[in-house]
Symmetry: D2
Subunit: 136 residues, 4 copies
Amino acid sequence: MSQPRIVETTFRVRYAETDAMGIVYHANYLVWFEVGRGEYFRAMGQDYGEWEQHGYLLPVSEAYACYHAPARYAELVTVRTWLDKLRSRSATLGYEVRSAATQQCLVTGWTKHICVDREGRVRRLPENMLGFGEVQ
Amino acid sequence: MSQPRIVETTFRVRYAETDAMGIVYHANYLVWFEVGRGEYFRAMGQDYGEWEQHGYLLPVSEAYACYHAPARYAELVTVRTWLDKLRSRSATLGYEVRSAATQQCLVTGWTKHICVDREGRVRRLPENMLGFGEVQ
Amino acid sequence: MSQPRIVETTFRVRYAETDAMGIVYHANYLVWFEVGRGEYFRAMGQDYGEWEQHGYLLPVSEAYACYHAPARYAELVTVRTWLDKLRSRSATLGYEVRSAATQQCLVTGWTKHICVDREGRVRRLPENMLGFGEVQ
Amino acid sequence: MSQPRIVETTFRVRYAETDAMGIVYHANYLVWFEVGRGEYFRAMGQDYGEWEQHGYLLPVSEAYACYHAPARYAELVTVRTWLDKLRSRSATLGYEVRSAATQQCLVTGWTKHICVDREGRVRRLPENMLGFGEVQ
């Protein structure tokens, strides 16, 4: 594939996700990245939960977020997720959160994941995931 | 014991726990009840995490909270926890959240727990816990 | 209306919502109740966020949940929400969380809300909401 | 001061903070950074909540975390917080989360904050905060 596949998922901001500033609390965007990641895997025909059952865990090893504008209660937001970098034992996913109504970019970021087994030993990514893109 | 033992734990409200009303989001008091419960067990010389490792899980089967007054960011709150009812396979704990500064009662509630094993089958509570009070 | 209107909303369990027992952490069902409540208001043509802007706040005064069976990561769950009791200054909503795949009932519960203004004084519910059902 | 002041705060991991991998969910470390930040301000004789009341808001504009080893339920963790960079309208704080028992470093990271007023306009940091270190 010459172009990265971008998977979109849209949902509504929960009151629980807001804080006393009246906006979404910053840590919750990492949760939204996780929602986007799950949908990305599902769109690629995979199921992260099943991987876990087969002993492939993908804990986050690094995370970064840049906050451009705040999301607010009841707003529809869209998380766009793509595979940024693929290695045999790790992968980096990129994210963009937009307001679904205005398409304004709210937050961008990425997470890096290392594949480990139940005992925490680094292992090769599931073969299915290695097929998501070009391994570097 | 003729009197229920009450265990207190005090901590500060996190910004993450507030919502757009400027007060602590109601579901977070259930988390604070859990903090109080852990401290209650510890004060009784027990460790819930160890129980889990030995296959005694205590999932919540019912929960109730009554909200009297709101807690706010950075406030010190005290959770008071006691054993309300003890049966061979279940236990009910009671909670009271107070403002540490004013002693005003903010939230009261209770949680009921049923003891299960890793496969979800109901089992007797750990013997140590059955010694917490009179089994009804 | 002789029959209570039930509003359904379906979404996927987030990894963030699970706990070390491998199931959804019990306090998160109160968050799901809130998601159901927002959808209920929306289905009735109302917007809770707008009410807040007009000075009608509906903080939770009591909450109860009964846990029948656990939800797990990536599962689709449906929250069914209805108006249980309507008074001039308070309302009680009922909830049922089901597995969308099997229709198994996972959690039931209710929340009671008292209408207050920005200063915390009790006030009449918004007229639009009083039209949701018969005021008792 | 030639050396950055490091402020430590220690607390216990909550069950609510764990996930189905049996470890602390990665987004919660950003919440812990916020706890460390509040304690840092308090140790400097300041109160972030009061700043907000005076119209100085410090939303997060960027956040980064690197995950070295996982924290687990009931473990005592220490968050070490320091001021990394101070400008007239923004500040960057650094964080390190350690196991209180073993002193093992679990997570490191930083957050950048821009000072805004209630309307979201960028403004100078509170004078008290500008006294925390050398403004660059």
